[in-house]
């Protein structure tokens, strides 16, 4: 917004043309709007509609009113899945944010071999999720994987994937391992945007590395943290592939997170109406969480981190 209005001001000041020239016409947005409507709004609307239907994928959907929704709120499996999703999201955030932030700040510097190491750290993001999940699945095989040899050194039971906590933590770890480079990159970019004058001033005032980090870097990264967190939370809430390949929702149903429950309901049970209800609930929760996060982090009103500079 601020960008546009200042642009307008400049144009207006120069009196280059008639009043409405400041903004490009709506026509410019048409391709984007059409694309977004076709691939986001319309399917979303259909999913919402389907959540009020019974549908097996073969016959036409039959509207059944609130049936799927009342079932959703009473379904212990849904409740368990929602809880597991929140747990997975929290664990992922707590694991990824500090590491990615520190790595990003480090990678923004000018140290020796920084570029080489940054490139190495980036590799997991280039691999396919499926390949990563299969790789870890093989490494963690309790009889033939490396975990059998290495696990006991660290006091880890080689049957880690067979325990409820172990399986969930493994899924969070593998996801973190894969996506951390992405968030590192965001933090690296964010850190590089911080004006050097701040650090120079702090140095003159006698602030050490730690104080510089806590009083300059961290506050200046406020918006970057919000951006990264929103992406992380939405990503974790919809985290699916690793669960499918590594645990299949097990042991029992103890890693059956919401997206996996949706997949099982939709594409194994073929109860597509109920699966649509789960999907819609997921969309609502993820949207609500990101809105709340944006609102309470002060990201929404776009207060500049460089006020007064």
């Amino acid at each position: 917004m601020s960008h546009v209005s200042s642009y307008k001001k400049v144009r207006g000041g120069r009196k280059a043309a008639a009043g409405n020239v400041g903004r490009p016409s709506v026509a410019w947005a048409v391709p984007g709007i059409v694309f977004f409507a076709l691939f986001a709004i319309v399917p979303l609307a259909i999913a919402v509609y389907l959540s009020f239907c019974r549908w097996d994928g073969l016959n036409a959907p039959t509207p059944i009113g609130m049936g799927n929704w009342t079932r959703l709120f009473k379904d212990p499996e849904f409740r368990q899945a929602a809880w597991l999703s929140l747990l997975l999201t929290s664990v992922s955030w707590l694991f990824q944010t500090p590491v990615a932030l520190l790595l990003g700040v480090w990678a923004a510097g000018k140290q020796r071999s920084r570029a080489v190491l940054s490139a190495v750290f980036f590799i997991p993001l280039l691999l396919s999720t499926t390949a990563i999940a299969m790789l870890f699945h093989a490494l963690l095989d309790p009889n033939f994987g490396v975990i059998r040899t290495i696990g006991p050194w660290f006091g880890i039971d080689p049957n880690i994937m067979g325990s409820s906590t172990g399986a969930l933590l493994t899924v969070a770890f593998v996801g973190g391992w894969q996506f951390m480079p992405f968030h590192t990159l965001i933090y690296q970019g964010g850190t590089r945007q911080i004006p050097q004058v701040l650090y120079q001033a702090a140095e003159i005032d006698g602030a050490g590395m730690l104080r510089q980090f806590f009083h300059i870097t961290l506050p200046q990264l406020r918006h970057t943290i919000t951006t990264s967190s929103v992406l992380m939370i939405v990503g974790s809430l919809t985290y699916f592939d690793t669960v499918l390949i590594m645990t299949r929702g097990g042991p029992g149903t103890d890693t059956t997170v919401l997206p996996y429950l949706m997949y099982r309901t939709g594409f194994q049970t073929y109860d597509l109406g109920y699966a649509a209800a789960i999907a819609t609930a997921l969309v609502v929760v993820a949207t609500a969480l990101s809105l709340i996060l944006v609102r309470f982090s002060g990201f929404g009103n776009m207060r500049s981190t460089r006020e007064g500079m």
Partner: protein, 436 residues
């Protein structure tokens, strides 16, 4: 039905349902790119489960296409995707004309949606088809007494595979009774050997245990009742007893401590058996070719097989078998070339096709198979398998294929909870009774 707009939008809906789950995109790409165009220009598309045996069907297709005006186009769908892709395709205008299936419950949704050609009179009035196959096999794939499929692959009974060398070293023989089984479990446990390999991370290997236990304890009638749609039949005492037996086996260490994180697909469970880390493995007859591929030395020298033992106090005939009787071709009722499709299905009863199956190590379900088995890569295994099925008073189809997905999927989930100790046998029964 078949309105293009609707299908487009439902596909879009799945997109959203998939939402942010990225893998879904892959599934959909799979649906979108299928080559079948509903039999335009004189072709019949045929979906087949994509594994090593496809080459047998491919050869049959090439043979058929030499003389037929309508050409068959075979589309092998990778195994794990098969059920999903078929389902998505059958709900769309690009459905296959002919498709591979497991008969019974696996085709019920398509039958109910009016998508299957009723082959009852075709089979009954055609000597080649009628007398070409073992009657029990034709029957096992039928629905409510009507025939919708023609057998097209080998039989796949579930058998008790064991490591002959380990048994000899411990002076044991293949267990015929529950007592002998218990004795074998204790003996192997004392030696630090896992009695049974079990790929518990996938749910269907666990299902096999329940299938055999219920058959031995309560006889095949109990599951027949369940299959007919009577959810209260889960309340039969034999079901509870079977679930309790599972719990006893798990608690008694029959599957070792870490079966929950052992996989079947990646080969972990079969390797336990071939490496001598586990003594026995309850598995479909394909275990033999799996071992032959992964551990040929072991398969040739030390791999042995037996029937599932009796269970104390059970009423089931110990000759009964569970598993997949075979696979079937069914015809889509929307096909434009029904006669050609039927003509293709008839070639499945031919001697040359059965011979091709035998050469591939399969045991065909044709009535003339017995005489061909001496030419199999392993005649003894083929013959034992054929006899086992031939003599079986009842052949129960794998539950996850016999039941509709609406029941089968919750069943697999509940079974995995039972094995993982997350629910009690009583909770298992209650949960299954509640599935609608």
């Amino acid at each position: 039905m078949g309105s293009g707009i609707f299908t487009q939008s439902t596909r879009a809906a799945r997109w959203t349902a998939a939402g942010a789950a990225m893998v879904m995109a892959g599934v959909l790409a799979g649906c979108g790119s299928n080559g079948g165009s509903g039999g335009d220009g004189g072709t019949l598309t045929a979906y087949v489960y994509g594994d090593d045996a496809v080459k047998v069907q491919q050869a049959a297709v090439e043979e058929f296409n030499k003389t037929s005006k309508v050409k068959v186009k075979l589309i092998p769908v990778p195994g794990t995707e098969y059920v999903n892709k078929l389902r998505s395709a059958m709900g769309s205008p690009s459905a296959p004309d002919i498709f591979y299936n497991w008969g019974s419950g696996s085709i019920k949704p398509y039958r109910d949606a009016g998508q299957l050609v009723d082959l009852t009179s075709t089979v009954k009035n055609d000597a080649t088809l009628k007398d070409g196959f073992l009657p029990s096999i034709i029957e096992a794939g039928s629905l409510d007494g009507k025939i919708y499929g023609v057998p097209m692959r080998g039989m796949q009974p579930v058998m008790l595979f064991y490591n002959k060398k380990l048994f000899a070293e411990n002076k044991l023989e293949a267990p015929k009774t529950w007592e002998e089984l218990q004795h074998a479990i204790t003996t192997f446990k004392d030696k630090g050997i896992t009695p049974f390999a079990l790929g518990g991370q996938e749910k269907w290997p666990e299902l096999m245990w329940l299938e055999y236990l219920l058959d031995r304890i309560g006889g095949p009638e109990v599951f027949n009742k369940i299959q007919s749609g009577d959810a209260s039949a889960w309340g039969d005492p034999a079901v509870l007893k079977s679930a309790q037996t599972v719990k006893e086996l798990v608690d008694g260490g029959a599957f070792g401590k870490n079966f929950n994180s052992v996989d079947y697909g990646s080969g972990a469970a079969p390797t336990l058996l071939s490496k001598g880390k586990a003594a026995m493995h309850l598995m479909g007859s394909w275990e033999y070719s799996t071992q032959l591929g992964k551990a040929p030395e072991f398969a040739k020298n030390d791999l042995a097989w037996a029937n599932f033992p009796t269970v104390a106090g059970g009423v089931g005939d110990p000759a009964n078998v569970v598993g997949n009787p075979t696979n079937y071709w069914s015809i889509n009722s929307r096909t434009k070339h029904k006669d050609a499709a039927i003509a293709f299905l008839k070639t499945m009863a031919s001697k040359s096709y059965a011979q091709a199956l035998v050469d591939n190590g399969d045991v065909p379900t044709t009535s003339n198979a017995a005489s061909m088995l001496s030419g199999s890569p392993n005649p003894q295994f083929a013959k034992d398998q054929y006899d086992m099925v031939q003599k079986a008073p009842s052949f129960t189809l794998s539950w996850d294929q016999a039941l509709e997905s609406g029941v089968a999927t919750p069943l697999l989930t509940e079974i995995s909870k039972l094995f993982a100790g997350k629910s009690t046998p009583e909770q298992f029964v209650a949960a299954m009774k509640a599935v609608k």
